[in-house]
């Protein structure tokens, strides 16, 4: 299968050096809509959807492959090699921070800089480590996701994918940025919130920047500092932006922090 179609890869921008933006759990590449265009004058900008999200090819969703973050990292490596990426800047939001790290360990030549927005190496508390969540709370989340299907309907899903220009589908496009097959959403939530990549952090040798929001309940300051302290030579910037999605709530601050680093 064509990797670029599978992951709904979109290229834009005029620069030579590539910058790859990866979305986290919840929505799709639209999460970068206020950030990515700011890099088009200096970079080749690459956006994509993880398989299962947004405009990706749902038929490529393989339960076993995507039951670990490795499956997602393999996709990222494939996208990189398909596009011939070398020394690119990787910007990952939330769980994609870890996916980017895993990809960089699999293919060291791929990325020259990592920017991790709201990263967490483990969400569930473990002994002295504070991830912010108990295992029971994550189990509740998985159940709760079933209460919010966001108007997902298996019958209409294929029609809206790749047809945003069709006005008669506009009504159905409501929520489409974050609408996912409930089974896939649940599986992605499970792999995200039960992941533990603390052991991978020390292996990172690429220059890494961590962007830490204030009052982020998903990836708290302690969690961000843990990532910073575990990745040798990494830098951390504390954003004024609150919440878990500064790429939407405070794009200007995110853009300038990334530009200052790369």
């Amino acid at each position: 299968m064509d990797v670029l179609t599978r992951n709904n890869v979109r290229e834009s921008g005029r620069g030579l050096r590539a910058i790859v933006f990866a979305h986290g759990f919840g929505c799709d590449q639209n999460m970068w809509r206020f950030v990515a265009p700011e890099f088009e004058s200096d970079f080749k900008v690459i956006l994509f959807d993880h398989v299962g999200a947004g405009g990706s090819d749902l038929s490529a969703y393989d339960k076993t492959k995507y039951s670990t973050l490795d499956g997602y990292a393999d996709d990222l490596v494939e996208i990189g090699s398909e596009l011939g990426l070398k020394d690119a800047v990787f910007v990952g939001h939330s769980v994609s921070s870890m996916i980017g790290i895993l990809a960089s360990l699999k293919a060291p030549e791929l990325f020259g800089r990592l920017v991790l927005v709201g990263p967490s190496a483990r969400y569930i508390d473990d002994g002295d480590y504070i991830g912010g969540f108990s295992a029971k709370q994550i189990a509740e989340l998985l159940e709760f996701l079933e209460d919010n299907h966001m108007g997902w309907s298996a019958a209409m899903a294929p029609s809206i994918m790749g047809n945003p220009e069709r006005p008669e589908l506009a009504e159905e496009l409501t929520n489409s940025f974050c609408r996912t097959d409930p089974e896939i959403a649940k599986a992605f939530a499970r792999v995200t919130f039960t992941s533990d990549n603390r052991g991978d952090l020390s292996k990172v040798t690429i220059p890494t920047l961590i962007l830490q929001c204030s009052e982020d309940i998903i990836a708290s300051e302690e969690v961000g500092k843990f990532v910073h302290n575990s990745i040798p030579g990494s830098e951390i910037v504390f954003l004024k932006a609150t919440g878990h999605c500064p790429n939407l709530s405070a794009p200007a601050e995110v853009v300038s922090a990334i530009k200052a680093y790369v």
């Binding site: 919840g26 709760f144 079933e146 940025f177 974050c178 309940i217 939407l248 709530s249």
Partner: protein, 372 residues
């Protein structure tokens, strides 16, 4: 008319509406709540205002708000019909369905985000029951499928294992026949009967195996060969059945003038099943007639018998597995013969049609001479 003035009426509608109202300021903190929400949550306005909404949600709701609701509000300006669970002052769960919309200035900056909350305890319980029953059904279905598959594998293994002892009986009968030690008429009749039974049983086993194979996903596989003649195969099938039913008459008229691109042994099996069916269900005192011809690019094989017509209600089910007509003869099979015959026909791009009148019951198999 109401005793309240127009402004008070609006105020009252806001405060005591049968839904909760809540606004979030541009700083992400709750800026206004109505009396209904205060009553539902058990938190007074001064406890709510200035706090972040997620502080009053359960953990799952918090994560969902951050990962879905907040991004969607920012991207599309509204988000309708989402489920949230509040945690009340008394520690109870308060399930709500919410709509949210951003109010923006003319320059695009967010003034506030308004949320309308509808209590949804019963609705959510109902939905959860639906989800639970669906997952129960799925579990049940998975178990059923597994059992069915096991059963079919068992059938396949059983059919396979029955072949060896049958081959031994068949070999034993042949040895007896060749040795010439049996002279007595009665003894020879017993030997004939053994041969008949072996033929019939090996036909049954073939059908069982084909059925199991079909159910296990392999389907009927063909090895077509248009270069070798079909007629001798059909003649052999008829001979075997004549031997097996010495007291019955089978009349044939074959006119296969062109090559038939078919799996010859499969078509032989089809013919054997159709003729076997006619012998079982047809009138004992009249001949079973079998014909085959090639004409207009089509190969046609027909088998006809006299006797009681097939009841109308049975017609639609004839080719279903394990279907058996009324028990008229002790020689009832498994009910797989016609099913397998129709599967073989389909595998050849052909079909079997049936007509049944008081005069005659006729099965006709037609397939294209050349496969596409």
């Amino acid at each position: 008319m109401s005793e309240l003035g127009p402004i008070d009426e609006y105020q009252d509608l806001f405060e005591n509406a049968p839904c909760g109202y809540l606004t979030i300021g541009p700083d992400g903190r709750i800026s206004k709540v109505n009396a209904t929400l205060e009553a539902w949550t058990g938190f007074s306005a001064d406890k709510l205002i200035g706090q972040r909404l997620h502080q009053f949600l359960n953990m799952a709701g918090r994560i969902y708000f951050e990962t879905h609701i907040a991004p969607l509000l920012r991207m599309q300006g509204f988000f309708n019909e989402f489920a949230l669970d509040f945690e009340t002052a008394a520690g109870q769960r308060l399930p709500v369905i919410a709509n949210a919309a951003e109010r923006r200035n003319s320059d695009g900056t967010v003034l506030f985000t308004a949320l309308v909350l509808i209590k949804a305890t019963d609705r959510r319980r109902y939905e959860r029951e639906l989800i639970n029953s669906r997952s129960e059904l799925r579990k049940g279905l998975a178990i059923e499928r597994e059992t069915a598959e096991l059963r079919e594998q068992f059938i396949a293994v059983l059919g396979h294992d029955l072949r060896n002892p049958l081959a031994a009986i068949s070999a034993g009968a042949r040895i007896l026949q060749r040795s010439g030690t049996l002279q007595d008429d009665k003894e020879l009749r017993v030997l004939d009967m053994m041969n008949t039974t072996v033929t019939r049983m090996s036909g049954l086993i073939d059908n069982i195996l084909d059925f199991a194979r079909g159910r296990l996903g392999d389907g009927i596989t063909l090895s077509r060969d248009a270069n070798r003649p079909l007629q001798p195969v059909l003649e052999q099938v008829v001979d075997e059945l004549r031997t097996a039913s010495p007291d019955r008459s089978i009349e044939t008229s074959f006119a296969i003038m062109e090559p038939v691109n078919c799996d010859r042994s499969r078509v032989g099996q089809l013919a054997s099943n159709l003729i076997g069916n006619a012998l079982t269900h047809g009138a004992a005192y009249q001949a079973v007639r079998v014909g085959a011809k090639t004409e207009d690019g089509v190969f046609e094989l027909w088998v006809a018998n006299a006797g009681e017509p097939i009841p109308a209600i049975a017609m639609g089910k004839l080719f279903e597995p394990f279907f058996r007509g009324d028990i008229r003869s002790s020689r009832q099979g498994l009910g797989l013969g016609l099913h397998i015959a129709s599967q073989i026909a389909q595998a050849h791009g052909g079909r079997i049609d049936v007509t049944s009148t008081p005069d005659e019951t006729r099965f006709v198999f037609r397939m294209p001479l050349q496969s596409n």
